[in-house]
Symmetry: D2
Subunit: 292 residues, 4 copies
């Protein structure tokens, strides 16, 4: 299957060694713009809370229900005055707020961004290029919240387009600039419901993000499952993440953010993303902070 | 063994249900003070980078060396266009920057803060009180960096006291106020070296933190291993964390911070700590961000 | 609490270094007796089948139900011509057939068999004495099946006594000799049912096992949960395993064995137990084989 | 790439649903032949002993060296009178004695035995056909030990052929019959040594196994790494396991067996393999027992 030449694409834009993708758009000027949004130090978490499942389901712990993204083991420390534990985390889980690395997606021709064979990059010992390493130290930029659910959740199977984003900009009196992170509320969760098809991001919306210079996408929803009937289903992962090299935060929690933005009448903030500083992953749990 | 009545103690100060400990000192005013430190959006990570070990050491991955704090498993996703992985994290590991929860330490009488039996609180299904839950959404305050190693690493076995902190305040022309986080550089790592006993925090230093109202301690070093010859060995964990209910960030990376502070001539910043939002843990990996 | 002097006890019987407990009763003569039971090479498994749960419950695998004793991770091998996986096993799980090591139980005075402090034996790096090591190479003896459920499951809360065992011996025309393994069917599973209290082994039954010289106990049931109203609740684990140092196989599958024994009219067989040869565990999954 | 028509092949021999492969050769008559080898109940383990690595490498356990095939976590049980643990096992590990399932290997055309697409059979939720399930209840047959190292280890890079097997038969005065398991000693371990290329099984040896009707292969060595210069490198895994559907036990321990066989002057025995009874795996740890 030939790659569609008309799809937006950033492969090669920042060189053959690049691992940052659209994070290259976050310049010193963008960071200074973010800094100017900080006034009283109020912070809002954009992560879903996670109750871990005990990995042990035998006689010493309750039998577990459906698996959490996190499993916890309480350890025998051998000393009565200290406690300790281990956690095992499923990096790509629909109930865990996580950042997708660029090498999470592979092109049909077997290549990963910005043009390397997946067979060399994706190894049993981790991702050698375009993994979590380039953003392990943290990401800071301006966040702009576009609330598509200000009047209630989007309709089932609604195809999200540029028009939805621009309508929100108009309502909120903001404008997304190059290097900003886009934070979206659809009023849905990422858990599929067979009765009610999800809304989702269309290729039209991805083209708009590309034109505006979005550095990072965060949303309570992204690609619809099942896919929308669209010219390019799964456009957020298959075009924005893969072709544009735009990192995504899946399963973002935006309810408290919506409340605070409405209360303050402000839809821009400093956005800080500081994952555990682990290299070589395909994705990593994050707790994005919106600071006002 | 009777508890030493003269040790500083916060048990009961914020009530019988409290789980925040000294984080209660972070008021709106403290947060606003932190916000005023943000000028150009430059961020510095205070976390050590971690190269995970592949959990699989068989024919498909290299044999592992000494264990990393993080083990990674690359997954068979069943589809050729996506990659995924799992990580297992040792929460208390001397090469992992992590936040100690209040219930990480138990008093000799079997109680955890603020006076509950460890047998009820610490269960095979996780920590029921004083675990990671109260800071899972994130912590934001002003950070003050006291660089005790500006002229080189502290001497071996040096007992760190209030005088060291106040000397640094004088050199840097800063003053640590109630609610601030204290970030310390000793110029040492937490990996024990049998040849060179570590420096460490003394009870005198902990008393000073208590008087100043430190909300949170971060340091490249904390308690010395082997313990210092001190009136109360292990004072950071056994008095500050346990008696004062002051959360600690073990194994903080402060090298880049020292460089940036010296370059800017500024030793205060907005400190944001946003761990993966997981409840019920005894400790959690963090990537503290100092924002200037 | 003083130890009950009248309870049967093997501490010291085989010396201060012993790790075999009642497996010492399996002499060459006992093994030869076992060998004589082998006629046509028919083998019956006494292990419950286990369907592992995928550890990954995200977008690439079905969400898991209640946790299995075994979790499986299918690995990315990096080569298209080979598959591989990892398993994580909960050693003491009521739906996993497993052998309890002697150090699985600790006396109220803090000692493990044959009189060592648990604080020295049970460490974060595994069990240093009386763990899985002494039987890791395998156990072979004669098995005797006493079918207490030949006429249907035992009544709810039935206290199993020596009389039950001797009645079965009479029905089956067998006699359990010193060194034999005792295999018991009660017609119950080890999963507690709040509506129907389980039957269970009494101290009287344990005394009988001691007098007969049982080397090893295997049963579909053992100690009742909730405990029987008995002179010594939990006698199988707290007296047979702990005081007598008699290894136990919890959650033994005996349905097929009952069918085969009835069909052949034979209730004795060669019993082979060959766990994965792993040292230092508190318990280990096993698949006991009854060979006729 | 067309499959080589002249390679020995059992695909289709036992039907389109078969999962047993050459285990189909173990008839009642073969089992009775195995039973006749049992005389005094002496058992020898053919598994390598495994010292597990503590998964926890932090302040409460020693830092780990090179990873073991097994990692152990000692658990906080919440009660002072019982201990428990978890193990994580790498199923295909060169220092772990394990049984390879038929679906461990995939043909270049993407099919697994006996002609199913790997994309359907090998899923993130385990192996759906030709995994550990068909031998989870246990395998019993006659074992024949061919000691190729009776006069010392095979020479480096020695290509093992039918002639080696027949010479051993002659020395030992045995003959391998249809349905028997073949147990081989080369005097080497499976850990590659760059200085000394391993000996290995050739296609000629595999053809001989096929003609004789070997049901199962166990050896201290199998395929050489690096591969022999052979007409078909890796013939044990790529022809015997994959084309013939002959399960393999990798990393078999044969030292004690060699001693016992020489002492008894007997090279045939009852072989019992009873893995943990876990379904759907690509491989499983085993502790084969040779019973005399």
């Amino acid at each position: 299957m030939p790659e569609n030449k008309t799809l937006p694409d950033n492969w090669g834009r920042w060189g053959a060694e690049d691992e940052l993708g659209t994070l290259n758009l976050i310049t010193d000027e963008v960071r200074a713009r973010a800094a100017r949004e900080v006034r009283d130090g109020r912070a809002v978490s954009l992560a879903l809370p996670i109750d871990p499942t005990p990995a042990l389901s035998g006689p010493f712990a309750p039998a577990a229900g459906p698996l959490s993204p996190v499993q916890q083991v309480m350890l025998h420390t051998g000393i009565p005055v200290a406690t300790a534990d281990l956690v095992t985390i499923t990096n790509h889980h629909p109930r865990s707020t996580h950042l997708d690395a660029l090498s999470h997606q592979i092109r049909e021709d077997g290549q990963v961004y910005p043009g390397r064979p997946a067979t060399e990059v994706v190894t049993p010992a981790g991702v050698q290029h375009g993994g979590s390493t380039p953003f392990a130290a943290g990401i800071l930029t301006r966040g702009v919240f576009l609330d598509l659910a200000a009047d209630g959740p989007l309709p089932s199977a609604h195809p999200i387009t540029a028009a939805d984003f621009e309508a929100a900009e108009g309502r909120e009196n903001v404008r997304l600039e190059s290097g900003d992170a886009l934070v979206v509320r659809c009023g849905w969760s990422m858990t599929p419901d067979p009765e009610r098809p999800m809304p989702g991001i269309t290729l039209d919306a991805v083209r708009w993000m590309h034109e505006r210079g979005v550095s990072l996408y965060l949303g309570d929803m992204g690609d619809a499952h099942p896919p929308l009937e669209d010219e390019h289903p799964g456009a957020l992962h298959r075009v924005a993440l893969l072709n544009l090299a735009m990192p995504l935060v899946d399963a973002t929690a935006v309810g408290e953010l919506a409340t605070v933005c409405a209360e303050l009448g402000r839809y821009c903030f400093l956005l800080s993303i500081a994952p555990p500083r682990i290299h070589g992953l395909t994705g990593v749990p994050v707790n994005p902070q919106a600071v006002f």
